[in-house]
């Protein structure tokens, strides 16, 4: 088995996605099949070739340390669900920063 039901439940929790037991029963086997299918790539992966993380082959793309215009606070906050004291108001943070 490529991924267990418990692992799917764990990932869902980490991703803040609420899944019911029925959804887990449904999704876990599907994800298992998908991962098994993708894993076939491993079989053709040649020895000594590092996994690809970037397809372009570019390195060292930098910007100069020059300021650019910012959004106004009003624009920055315009999509926030809640605003107070010109700050994003969010549910309490459970753990320390």
């Amino acid at each position: 088995m490529a991924i267990t039901r418990d692992e799917v439940a764990h990932l869902a929790r980490l991703s803040r996605i609420a899944l019911t037991d029925a959804e887990l029963d449904h999704l876990a086997p599907q994800l298992d099949q998908i991962i098994t299918a993708v894993a076939q790539v491993q079989e053709v992966a040649a020895e000594g070739i590092p996994p690809t993380s970037h397809a372009t082959g570019l390195v060292n793309v930098y910007r100069d340390d020059e300021p650019r215009p910012c959004l106004t606070p009003a624009d920055a906050l315009s999509q926030a669900p809640a605003v107070e004291q010109q700050r994003f108001r969010v549910p309490r943070i459970l753990a320390e920063e």
Binding site: Y62, E96, E97
Partner: protein, 494 residues
């Protein structure tokens, strides 16, 4: 049960390590052009990139990479020829995009060291890694009694700080410092702060949070050779707190172990007010960050020529400067450390450059001026007197124009804003009586007024001359050169 620090050290050997975060002093943030400034109005230094809005693309700030390499080189690290940023996934609202761009298993700099001066000797602290990441936003917790997270009803977030380049410097575990462990930890952070300042990569203001420390501490039973479970103490944000946090964790862990318990691997929080740590979330339930190579940023592969260019631009490092000055001034390790701890190395150096002897410069800055600074509750280097003025006072003493008492008065005048030493001497009429005739007259008067003392001196009790010197000083209102007065008295009576 409680265990004193001394008892703990009898049975256990502490091992500590430090993770230090320092905000770089770049003009802009790490991945966008927003100004990296402290104290701007909330959410006024943000843009689509640092807010993580859809469709935005980060681009790394060349100067932040350069500064990180500079720090790595100053810490004698190797610089990676190729490395990547990594995405650290988590869902606290202190990062608006639900991840932080950091580095994971490919840090830019690895395996170095920092020599720190403590107790007159040098301790070499190994550096595991130096990596670059973005800082998080700042949260205000509303509804709790103290503004802390626990008990808060909701939080308010300002993202001005989100995306400011942050360098994390991680030490290797430091064993074998025994009783001195807290002091070595503090000396390390002090040395690191001074080094970062000398490199010009950060203003390193701890009170503004531009340098923050996490302290790892573990104990091993003496002689066992087995390291214990470590705890990580967060929120250690002053030099004094670094020392207190290590000490407090040593005492706490010793009490746990003595009581037959086991130390739990966990995050603890340091409380400035009480000096103790309390338990945070334990590592067992710690976040699973699912790091993966950051797809939006291409790899960093600093060309060797660039690294060498940066190496060539390094200023004289504090440890090298210390060794040079200590030798130039012919000081012992402890004598130099006293200057270092008083924050007086820089002012003494400038005073010497202004013409004073190293001994005179040290005498004034560690003596009279350190006392004034202490009374005023400021650093000696922030007293309103320049090294040049101190050098001038020393020169006036050396030439016999001032004696030590008058020199202190001149210092008073300069500190009170009355002008240069020469102006104070003129305005207050402070120069010693150099008129030999007036001095001789005062000496003769003193002898005449104290015939008994004069007789004793004639009998060979030259130590009695002090009484006559005192009388002459009184008559001249302290403006006589005591050595000259003594010579005149002895000339007349022996």
């Amino acid at each position: 049960m409680t265990v004193t620090y001394e008892e703990a050290l009898q049975r256990y050997e502490p091992v500590f390590g430090l993770e230090t975060h320092v905000e770089l002093g770049t003009t802009t943030k790490l991945f966008c052009g927003c100004p990296a400034v402290f104290g701007a109005e909330p959410n006024s230094r943000v843009c689509p990139v640092c807010l993580g809005l859809p469709g935005s693309l980060p681009a790394a700030n060349r100067r932040a990479i350069e500064y990180t390499i500079k720090i790595g080189l100053a810490l004698h690290c190797g610089i990676a020829s190729w490395c990547r940023f990594a995405r650290k996934n988590y869902f606290y609202p202190d990062m608006p995009k639900n991840f932080q761009i950091s580095q994971y298993d490919e840090p830019l700099c690895t395996d170095g060291y920092l020599d720190v001066l403590v107790g007159g000797r040098t301790v070499r602290v190994g550096i595991e890694r130096v990596h670059l990441e973005e800082d998080t936003g700042k949260s205000l917790h509303v509804g709790g009694a103290t503004g802390r997270i626990h008990g808060a009803e909701y939080s308010l977030v300002d993202y001005n700080r989100a995306g400011i380049p942050l360098v994390e410097i991680v030490t290797k575990p430091v064993p074998g410092t025994g009783f001195g462990a807290p002091g070595v930890a503090k000396a390390y952070v002090t040395e690191l702060r001074d080094l970062l300042r000398s490199l010009g990569v950060s203003d390193v203001r701890m009170e503004e949070g531009s340098l923050r420390c996490d302290v790892n501490t573990s104990l091993s039973v003496r002689g066992s050779g087995v390291w214990g479970t470590r705890t990580e103490t967060k929120n250690v944000n002053s030099l004094r707190s670094v020392e207190r946090a290590v000490r407090s964790e040593i005492e706490r862990q010793a009490a746990v172990l003595d009581g037959g318990g086991r130390v739990i691997q966990e995050t603890r929080h340091f409380h400035e007010d009480t000096g103790v740590t309390t338990s945070g979330r334990s590592k067992e339930e710690a976040q699973d960050y699912r790091y993966f190579p950051e797809p939006d940023l291409v790899p960093v592969a600093p060309p060797a020529e660039w690294v060498e260019e940066i190496r060539a631009s390094l200023p004289e490092l504090p440890s090298a400067r210390r060794a040079r000055l200590q030798a130039q001034w012919s000081l012992s390790g402890l004598e130099f450390e006293a200057l270092h701890n008083a924050g007086a190395v820089g002012v003494v150096e400038e005073t010497v450059l202004a013409g004073a002897s190293p001994a005179d410069a040290r005498k004034w800055w560690l003596g009279e001026l350190a006392r004034r600074a202490n009374d005023a509750g400021v650093d000696v280097s922030s007293l309103p007197i320049t090294p040049q003025a101190v050098a001038r006072v020393a020169a006036l003493v050396a030439s016999g124009t001032l004696n030590d008492r008058l020199a202190r008065e001149v210092i008073d005048g300069v500190l009170d804003g009355e002008g240069t030493p020469d102006e104070v001497v003129a305005a207050r009429g402070l120069a010693v009586v150099s008129d030999e005739g007036a001095l001789t007259a005062a000496v003769d008067e003193a002898i005449a007024a104290n015939p008994g003392v004069a007789a004793r001196i004639r009998d060979g009790k030259t130590s009695a001359a002090g009484v006559l010197i005192g009388a002459v000083m009184k008559a001249t209102r302290g403006k006589a050169d005591a050595a000259r007065v003594k010579a005149l008295i002895l000339e007349r009576l022996t």
